[in-house]
């Protein structure tokens, strides 16, 4: 997935974008042979296309779309994407229109990632300039992180599989990226809209409010504020204009207002569409409730299904709380440590969520791997990169084979498949840990450069 990085020099960005779109379109024409939409890695109970079609059908026949525990997504998706599940063009693959929507969502996400990446790169250069580090760090060597991130997102096999496998995760990812893009370019209504939709589609995106507040309050990623202070103390002139702005509450309140407005709007729309079928309470129960109580224990690439299949009913609530609090526990320390880098914080949150969420799919991994591309310059000396790369390749090949061994051949059992899920979770943990430590090392290196300490080559 990171292979694309070096190729940018010789091939133009747009060639690769076109190539990836064409590749998707080719794959869309062979949906029968691939049968991706029934793979557990691609379609979870929340993102499955079949369930969406079922929910739409239920709704068309004047029943609650949540009847029978089949559909667990948003009612808005039903209204927007539902008609596409039954529209067919003669002589074309069955779900062509829906697939095209996914492809468009992917491309839009990639463009937004690119724009945000360019923003971040400019902000980084600006802060280096104000720290007078431009000479020490060869800025000309800097890669265009926006282009790289967009290409990683587009050419990542995970993204392609999620897109061709007709899951709704391209749409969810687009909402998350929209939120981050809006916050980075200070389009507060857009950011609020993205955040509300992302939270509405998948509950876990709610914690992105913290990076968004930091982004709006103090601007995009920059080295820690105290470095600026140190730098200016050395020079003994305190140039306020060169300092990064202090935290300002104005945009945050603005954001809160817009978020409130959008959520009321979304809830009203949902309420209207579910008026006859139990209203909003029904929706909360079968979307958020379904996510939080881990009702569906069909195997997926996460670790919760196995655990809750084993756990005694008596302890179930206790462990539900433990597992979900796990995410919440990590929010605060990370927010304190990485508050000067809100976008990186968002990446870490997304990665942690995709690791601990109840119904993860490869689409979630596609999102955070794409966001990782923003920080290629900062993470240039990340450790274990080859190990992680090989691990991801190995697990993503081994997991379907283990599933096949268990379900189709009957010679394996659930432990085989769960083992790959655990390895996958471990890989994600290593990625997050190494990523965060590489980022902190990078900050440390900048500090050393400023304070003029003897540079340690290896750190």
């Amino acid at each position: 997935m990171e292979k694309v990085k070096k190729k940018i020099g010789s091939f133009s960005f747009w060639n690769w974008v076109t190539a990836s779109i064409i590749f998707r379109l080719i794959l869309i024409y062979f949906p029968k042979n691939l049968n991706l939409s029934s793979r557990p890695e691609v379609s979870t109970p929340l993102t499955s296309f079949r369930r969406l079609a079922e929910g739409y059908w239920l709704k068309q026949s004047f029943m609650s779309p949540y009847a029978g525990s089949m559909y667990h997504g948003s009612p808005l998706l039903l209204s927007l994407l539902g008609p596409l599940t039954i529209n067919r063009i003669e002589g074309q693959p069955n779900h062509l229109l829906y697939s095209l929507v996914s492809v468009i969502a992917d491309v839009v996400s990639a463009m937004l990632i690119r724009a945000t990446g360019q923003n971040l790169r400019l902000a980084y250069l600006r802060s280096l300039e104000s720290l007078d580090l431009v000479k020490q760090i060869e800025v000309s060597e800097f890669l265009f992180s926006g282009d790289i991130a967009a290409l990683i997102y587009l050419c990542n096999p995970f993204t392609i599989v999620a897109c061709v496998g007709l899951s709704t995760s391209p749409i969810e990812n687009m909402a998350v990226i929209l939120c981050l893009y809006g916050a980075c370019s200070r389009l507060i209504p857009l950011a609020a809209f993205g955040w509300v939709i992302a939270t509405h589609l998948s509950l876990y995106s709610a914690i992105l409010i913290i990076p968004v507040i930091f982004l709006l309050g103090c601007g995009p990623d920059s080295p820690p504020r105290k470095l600026f202070l140190q730098r200016h103390q050395q020079k003994e002139v305190l140039n306020q204009s060169k300092l990064p702005p202090r935290f300002s509450w104005g945009p945050v309140i603005h954001f809160a207002f817009w978020a409130f407005l959008w959520s009321v709007y979304v809830l009203v729309l949902c309420g209207i569409s579910l008026k006859q079928f139990g209203g909003l309470w029904e929706m909360f129960k079968s979307t958020y409730g379904f996510i939080l109580t881990v009702e569906d224990l069909s195997p997926n690439i996460g670790v919760l299904w196995y655990f809750f299949a084993e756990v005694f009913e008596f302890f179930r609530n206790f462990f539900l709380i433990v597992f979900h609090v796990n995410i919440l526990f990590m929010i605060l320390p990370l927010a304190i440590r990485l508050r000067h880098r809100p976008c990186y914080l968002a990446f870490v949150y997304v990665a942690i969520c995709s690791m601990l969420k109840s119904y993860p799919s490869v689409g979630d991994s596609a999102l955070y791997l794409g966001l990782l591309g923003w920080f290629v310059n900062e993470l240039a000396d990340m450790q274990f990169s080859l190990f992680l790369f090989c691990g991801y390749v190995g697990v993503s090949l081994l997991s379907p084979v283990m599933h096949n061994l268990w379900i189709w051949r009957g010679t394996g059992n659930a432990n085989f498949y769960f083992a790959t899920a655990m390895v996958y979770a471990c890989l994600q943990i290593v990625l997050v840990v190494e990523g965060v430590s590489a980022m902190l090392n990078h900050d440390r290196k900048l500090r050393n450069l400023i304070t003029g300490k003897p540079q340690d080559a290896k750190s």
Partner: protein, 719 residues
Amino acid sequence: MAETKEKSLSDEKPKPRVRPIVRLGIFLISHSFHFSVVCCTAGVLALFLLPVLAKNTYISENALMPGSASPMLSNQHVSDGNRLVKDLTNPNSKSSETGIESHKIIAQYMLDLGAEVSFHKFHPQMNQFHPLHFFSSPDSGKIQENYSCSSYGINTVGIIRAPHGDGKEAIVLVTPYNALKSGFGEALSLGIAYSVFSLLTQVTWLAKDIIWLVADSQYGEYAAVAAWLREYQTPKFSSLSTPNAEMCPDVNNLFELKGHSISGSKFSNSFRRAGTMASALVLKVRDQNEQFEDTISIYAEASNGQMPNLDLINVVNYLAVHRQGLRVNVEKLWSLLNSSWLKSLGEIFESLAKVAKSLYPKWKFGIPATEYVEGTATLASSLYYQALGVPTGPHGAFRDYQVDAITLEISPKFSLDKVWRNDILLRGGRLIEGVIRSVNNLLEKFHQSFFLYLLTSPSKFVSVGVYMIAFALLIAPLPMVAASLYVDANSSSNCSKGDSSTPSAITDTDEHSIAIRSWRWLNSAKLVFIVHLWGAIVSLLPYFISQIPDCSPTTSFMIWVLLSILSLLTLNSVLASPLACAKATQEKEWALVKSVTISSVFIGLGLMSVINFATAEIGALLMVPMCLLAQPLKLDVRAGTLRSFCRMICNLVLGHIAFPPAAFFLLKGMLDGFGNANVGDFWMWVESLWAWNSATYLFIGMVQLPCWVLCISILFHTC
């Protein structure tokens, strides 16, 4: 990697304090050479130890209770069977050209017993190219347009409904039968099946339905069984898919006659089903036999090295040996039986075991040398057939639907008198009856015993937990060597830069090197990726080549080779050229390429060991030494020491052996002699692999061939 970690830690604290696990990693990486030599040797040794480590089989599922009831098959049933054999071998029955007469006789016999009878018509499927088929679930198959009346087969199916059963489960008995040129053996197998069938219509203990499938083997035994199973498991509902066999006059003729002769009976035109299959037995009787006693051969390997549950083999083995006094055989590689080096190896193990026993009487692991040789021959054939991934009989079709099945081939000592024939009918019938009775007792499907095992004799097996050790030892050096190469490549480039630059310039160069250092492997990864992409293209090429009409195997093979080389050059010029220009000067580039290659081989072998262990084991024996030893020849020539000379020789030899066609011809030459080797043979072999959906084909195309190409490119690297 670990070294850098250590350094970064030492940056913080004056005293370096390294975590134990990191220290262990550093130790392993720094001693990777010794480590890999020890591991590889241990892996090969463990492979040869497997026959010694084999355990005796035991019946794991309690419900089976084999042999607990006395057999009920009496002489009455045997004489029934004899009657059918006589009728079938009667020259009058072979008058019809399509052999419909004999099918009618069989159907009539079944009907007389009160069984439900139906005919199943099928068209033999042509060889299709779907290499990923082993991975997907079985489907109803592609619909072929050009059916012709001239080529179809008829399976006769008889079903007994169990008096106590609920019709949810069934046991299948298959007898392949070619009505056009049936030997006496096939008729005899039908006789055995019929005598059992006639018994089963009367017994009260039956809890599962019995399906007797007389598979029309004129297009191959496997094709007939597979066609019937496909129809049974995945019914076709669309109107398109009903082939036009009904239009053919012969078939209509068959049905009309039936309808007339037996009106209102249990005969039906439609496809009949019973419940889910608990297990299946394929019964064959061999015509010729050189053995001095009645033996029964068990064939168990299904596609991609899948085996039926060990309990099924155990039951058959137990009943045949302890109840019916038959000798049980499994396939052996006969050429290994006479090899002297194996015999001496067995003697060494035997004497070692004696020494061990004299030291401590409780150590009893030795087996006699002759037994060792036989065990090794059986193990080798078990490995070989699993690695091929081609089923060894019609039972393979059942495994695709998760039904445990084996083929039993009875080879009687040949004589023509009636007493002998009755004896075989009685003993074979009682064996089948006993097995069916055991399976009938089952409450769930087979799950207790092993699915993953290798046989070293009919009553000895090596389970997955044991044979995986040999494999794991063999591939354990791969990640270690990859990591050590990676660390070396990174640190050496770093050091050289640090040395060459003056202290004042350190910051600058360091910044520069840091920016590329951690992700420098991406170039190598790109190269490896391109070669693997090429491997995928090469694996797909036969699909297009096989479309060319009237192509001899040799020309096909030549076209394949040419196209492969062409595509490699094209891919290289299109995708890899910027890399070659910009980074060729980079020092230690080959080490990174080797590191990434080894990682990819490790992933490939690990993956294959899950899909088909035997292929992975044989592939590892070839590829692991090649990957580990690969080093640019230029460096070795420059060094000029004895060690580098040896390595060079090893590299050149391995570079020749590990090339898939070369390995194939070498193996073939060892088994059959080099006299009649032909270039087209490889094409035929590969064709059989993809026609049988063997994962081995993909392994060769997408793991072994790219690995070989990468190793060769490392050997000829200009550094």
